[in-house]
């Protein structure tokens, strides 16, 4: 029994004229403390899957369990970092990071201390009083991750958090995220369309197919850390995953990864 169990989940979206089966008969098991990456073509339902696990949406059929408890709406056990910049623009960095602690009713001085620690962890000390509009995209996503970490849920979901960033920034944030994961022993589910990113981060990469969305293949990543993106093993995994994705695309007649 894994820590996160997705069992025979189906998700139908009802449009005006037709219904779209976003996910069908999807099974997924994530172990405690695992760093799972999910890759797949655009529109394969990666984001829908995360929203279901987060409790933002309800499955049309099947069930989701976290720590043996049925997911029924939003809970303390999970939080999600969105692909879009989601910091509250009317709050400064410190008050954004402390938001979850404020909701828990933690005292002001205590939650500020805690938030400052996380801001430091993200290498953004000195920006406590800055507002989101004063920060670059990379900084905003780091603060969004700090905000999610402050909430200290058992499962952390990340939906292409580095998708909009340039390569150098992305690589640096990937390294930071790995450090945090190793230190905090979190269970992470990370969605990306970047194969390289998935191999660099994951203990296991799941490849999803579209129409309808479900898990097609699983690739274990047993490379030592720090992982060298130019090593033969890394590149072999990259080619392997790319071939699986290309097969999916040819079968479904899609045209973009």
């Amino acid at each position: 029994m894994g820590f996160v169990e997705v069992e025979a989940v189906k998700k139908i979206f009802y449009g005006e004229k037709k219904e779209v089966v976003a996910l069908d008969n999807l099974y997924l098991t994530v172990n405690e403390g695992e760093f799972l990456c999910i890759v797949g073509p655009t529109g394969c339902g990666k984001t829908s899957l995360l929203r279901l696990i987060a409790g933002l949406e309800k499955p049309s059929a099947g069930k989701i369990l976290i720590a043996d408890k049925m997911v029924d709406g939003i809970s303390r056990d999970v939080t999600l970092v969105f692909q879009q910049y989601s910091l509250f623009p009317w709050r400064n960095v410190l008050n954004n990071v402390a938001f979850g602690l404020e909701m828990k009713g933690m005292q002001k001085s205590e939650r500020y201390d805690y938030a400052r620690g996380l801001i430091e962890l993200m290498g953004l000390t000195g920006f406590e009083n800055a507002y989101p509009y004063e920060l670059s995209g990379g900084m905003q996503q780091r603060i969004a991750i700090a905000r999610a970490l402050a909430y200290n849920s058992k499962v952390l979901l990340l939906d292409e958090p580095f998708g909009a960033l340039d390569e150098r920034t992305r690589h640096r944030l990937q390294e930071q995220l790995l450090e945090i994961w190793e230190r905090e022993k979190k269970t992470i589910i990370f969605v990306t369309h970047n194969i390289d990113e998935a191999i660099f981060l994951a203990t296991r990469v799941l490849i999803m197919r579209d129409r309808p969305g479900r898990i097609e293949k699983e690739v274990k990543v047993n490379l030592k850390k720090p992982r060298d993106r130019r090593s033969r093993e890394f590149l072999q995994l990259h080619i392997k995953i790319r071939e699986i994705l290309e097969t999916i695309l040819t079968e479904s007649g899609g045209n973009n990864v």
Binding site: A54, L56, I74, R76, V78, T79, L80, F82, Q84, S86, F88, P89, W90, R91, F99, G100, E102, M103, K104, Y131, P132, Y133, E134, R147, A148, Y151
Partner: protein, 272 residues
Amino acid sequence: MKTVLLGLIIPILILIVWEYFAVKVDNTSLLPRVEAVFDRLAHPFTNLLDTGSFVHHILVSATRVLLGFLLAVIIGVPLGLLVGRILLFHRLFSPIIEILRPLCPIAWIPFAMAIFKTYTIADIFGLHYTTNIFGQIQLGMLFVIFYGGFFPIFLNTVHGVKSVKSLYIESALLLGANQRDIFKKIILPSSAPAILTGLRVGLGISWMVIIAAEMLPGSDAGIGYLIMFSYELAEMDILIASMILIGAVGAVLSYGVKVIADRTGRWQARER
């Protein structure tokens, strides 16, 4: 500095054209000289036409406006929050709002006067034995100011609440917020800039409406009343000075709300 100077060019041109025609017409009951008007403005505490000073009339008008405006805020903002957030309220209020909205507040003035007659706040609270400003706050005027201020406040609040990004609400829910937190910590701050825009527009309209209301019979104070009275006595210098004051007070009111709005909405101006 340069922008200030540029902004002064047109007003100075107007003054020159005005002075030119005033000298040419040479009839103070038609078009007084610039100096005559500014001389009036330079003595704001002088009793005019036995009705009171500029300061007195402005204070009467401003008190009417602020009370009526306050009423519009107290009702407009909470109602806007409810209508923007709760579908039942939206369905309940939308049709009547759409019917009443195009109805100009000035069209209500005769109606309000017929209904409320010359009743004042002093009448209601039994403050008759003292002569104070409340004897000058007619209910009909309050109603019309309220009506003028209400719609911009209400509609901007609804708009502000409806434009709160679901991304922020979902983020907050995923960080442990309950519905009360969502309202207090997300909906309110997120729609604050729109609400303040509504307050600014609403205050501007209230100020315009009061002038119109005071021009009608039944009033014996206020800057609008002074305009009509000086017109009847052909005191054009007082009339024009009053108009300048109305513009100036309106600009100050608008600027005051803008300063508050800019501070609250600092984040929104820069957000892309």
